[in-house]
């Protein structure tokens, strides 16, 4: 089968779109981990919640209602989780955090089944973003381009906040050395709380955005969790650059690997993860060191 330029363009766009989706998810998780040293395995479940909230809101107010309000709803859930659980578990070791968030995965999985049932839900792509755009010689779905654009906008926004605002400087200081930052008078606790909620909102946004593309099922959170972990570990913990790098690496390896060497692709990505963890555990572009 011969692959023309159009094929490669199409695949590259697909890879980019997957990367952007993972970027939205991983940026929240990596900053939470880099700043709070807290492993939130339930991040995937928050993504699923975002998709479910978006589905319910879209049924009432259309796609955009879901798009804007689902992240808010998930951030609200984040507030509950933080005050109820996370704040108490912050000082515990990694194993305790893994277990608590593991328990959270179970609990949230069944909660979504209780509230929304077992059948798959769907959201329609909004009329504005329906259809295809002729780009670089191929016809590419407009909605997927929207996802790519959204990822880029969020990246630019976060880069601005982290790099040029005082809050961003405080966050970076906290990631670097939270004890020292506290000594300097930065209210680290409040910073953590804010970062956690924003991370949850981003996960919810990722869910709302992914819902029209993929289907909304109870186990979608579990499915996206491992790819997200791979992204943040390979890319580097705690940094924006790391999240982008990790997402791009995963997106391109997965997409091109899937069509060129499908059997190998899944083993390859885990082998890559293992290699990074063993050789340079902090990842490619960590915030520290």
């Amino acid at each position: 089968m011969s692959h023309d330029l159009g094929f490669w363009t199409l695949q590259a766009l697909n890879a980019l779109q997957l990367s952007m989706l993972l970027f939205l998810l991983s940026i929240g998780l990596t900053v939470i981990f880099g700043l709070m040293h807290f492993v939130n395995l339930a991040h995937g479940s928050l993504y699923a919640l975002g998709a479910y909230f978006a589905a319910s809101l879209a049924a009432v107010g259309g796609y955009w209602a879901g798009f804007f309000l689902a992240p808010v709803a998930v951030a609200g859930v984040g507030v509950l989780l933080y005050s109820g659980l996370i704040r108490r578990m912050r000082k515990s070791g990694p194993m305790a955090q893994v277990l608590v968030t593991f328990g959270l995965i179970f609990a949230l999985l069944d909660l979504t089944r209780i509230i929304w049932g077992d059948l798959a839900l769907a959201i329609e792509v909004p009329a504005l973003l329906d259809g295809r755009v002729a780009l670089l010689g191929v016809e590419y779905p407009t909605y997927r381009l929207f996802v790519i654009a959204l990822g880029a906008v969020i990246f630019a926004g976060l880069a601005f906040v982290l790099g040029r605002t005082q809050i961003g400087a405080m966050i970076r200081a906290g990631v670097d050395n939270d004890a020292m930052a506290a000594c300097l008078g930065i209210n680290v606790e409040r910073l953590f709380f804010m970062v956690f909620c924003v991370g949850c909102a981003l996960a919810g946004l990722a869910g709302a955005v992914a819902a029209p593309l993929l289907s909304v099922t109870p186990d979608m959170g579990l499915q996206i969790l491992i790819p997200t972990l791979i992204v943040i570990v390979i890319g580097g913990l705690g940094s924006l650059r790391g999240a982008v790098a990790g997402s791009l690496i995963f997106g391109f390896v997965q997409t091109f690997g899937a069509v060129l060497a499908p059997q190998l692709a899944s083993v390859l990505i885990y082998a890559l993860l293992a290699a990074v963890l063993v050789i340079k555990p902090v990842g490619l572009f960590p915030a520290k060191g």
Partner: protein, 334 residues
């Protein structure tokens, strides 16, 4: 260091007699549950050795058990080896896999170690899922049990198989105690408390970790071979990371680092799961909430909590006994 206290001995005796009673009197479904508990107990014993006594929290033990199960299945069905040989092969193979994982991950710590084991577990899962020889998602069937007709035991009978598993579990427990009390076990304890110091003392830390992980892998492999024989059918789901997660949950539920605790945890978990799923389809929710509660309570699981309470009770009695003497001594001199 692992010591047997009076409390632990009592717990062991109670567990063993309970299991024996169940094995001899229960109906078929009860025997099924018992066998499930025994095999899970073996797996979590393996996990407690590395996690509770070695500080190496592993999310790949489910995958190791799966490796053992598939190794036994392939060796006994496709390669045509006799079951005892296949079992030995499965144990050896899983032990080797565990050793390699332990060696490669030896330099990682904390969350990185956990994620590295997760990565290896998932690699094994993907590989088994894709490779056609393993039957893919449909799994492998037609697995036969060990043939003990030489000593007049038919393992195809549920009761005999349950007793067989109980005997093996006892042997594994004894072996675990021996490992923990040996030189290797003491070195492991040292490594868990302070790696740098052990290195300064001249010990090869990565070797210690790898060796212990390998031994733990052998136990997990045995559990896997038994699981394959129990159901006489295996599928890739055995290697999923959620199984490893559940094993970790059981260890925590029972009591990390107590060796007896995980046995209690296994029994409690399996019974709880069966009772709950008979009542509701949402038992994941209950297990999740329970797990969060147990972890946040900072008690070391059921058995850890019992031991702590017992310790306090004993302390109080000793304090009471010694307190009575002091005033008399003081007034005696005056």
């Amino acid at each position: 260091m692992f010591r047997h206290t009076a409390l632990r001995y009592t717990a062991l005796v109670l567990l063993a007699s309970g299991a024996l009673f169940q094995a001899l009197t229960a109906e078929y479904f009860g025997l099924e549950i018992l066998t499930e508990i025994l095999i899970l107990a073996m797996l979590v014993l393996a996990l407690d050795i590395v996690a509770g006594f070695g500080g190496m929290v592993s999310l790949c033990h489910g995958a190791l058990m799966g490796v053992g199960a598939y190794a036994y299945a392939i060796l006994s069905t496709k390669a045509g080896l006799a079951p005892p040989v296949a079992m030995a092969g499965a144990i050896a193979l899983t032990g080797a896999t565990g050793w390699v994982i332990g060696a490669v991950c030896a330099r990682s710590h904390g969350i990185y170690f956990i994620m590295a084991t997760l990565a290896f577990g998932q690699m094994a899962y993907s590989y088994v899922f894709e490779a056609p020889i393993f039957g893919g998602d449909d799994g492998l069937g037609g697995i036969s049990r060990l043939d003990l007709s030489l000593i007049g035991v038919d393992l195809n009978d549920s009761r005999s198989f349950a007793l067989f598993c109980l005997a093996l579990l006892g042997a594994v427990y004894g072996a675990s105690v021996l490992i923990l009390r040996s030189g290797l076990g003491r070195s492991l304890s040292g490594v868990m408390h302070n790696e740098q110091r052990m290195r300064a003392l001249g010990l090869t830390v990565w070797r210690i970790k790898a060796d212990v992980f390998g031994l733990s892998g052998m136990i997990a492999g045995l559990a896997g071979a038994l699981a394959a024989q129990h159901i006489m059918y295996i599928s890739p789901g055995l290697l999923s990371w959620t199984v490893s997660g559940e094993a970790l949950v059981v260890v925590i539920l029972g009591g990390l680092g107590t060796l007896v605790g995980p046995l209690v945890g296994a029994a409690a978990f399996v019974v709880l799961k069966h009772e709950l799923s008979a009542v509701t389809t949402y038992w994941h929710l209950v297990v999740g909430v329970l797990l969060i509660a147990v972890v946040m309570s900072r008690a070391n699981g059921i058995f850890g909590w019992i031991e702590a309470r017992w310790g306090i009770w004993v302390e109080r009695r000793v304090a009471d006994a010694t307190r009575k003497q002091d005033p008399e001594e003081v007034t005696g001199d005056a």
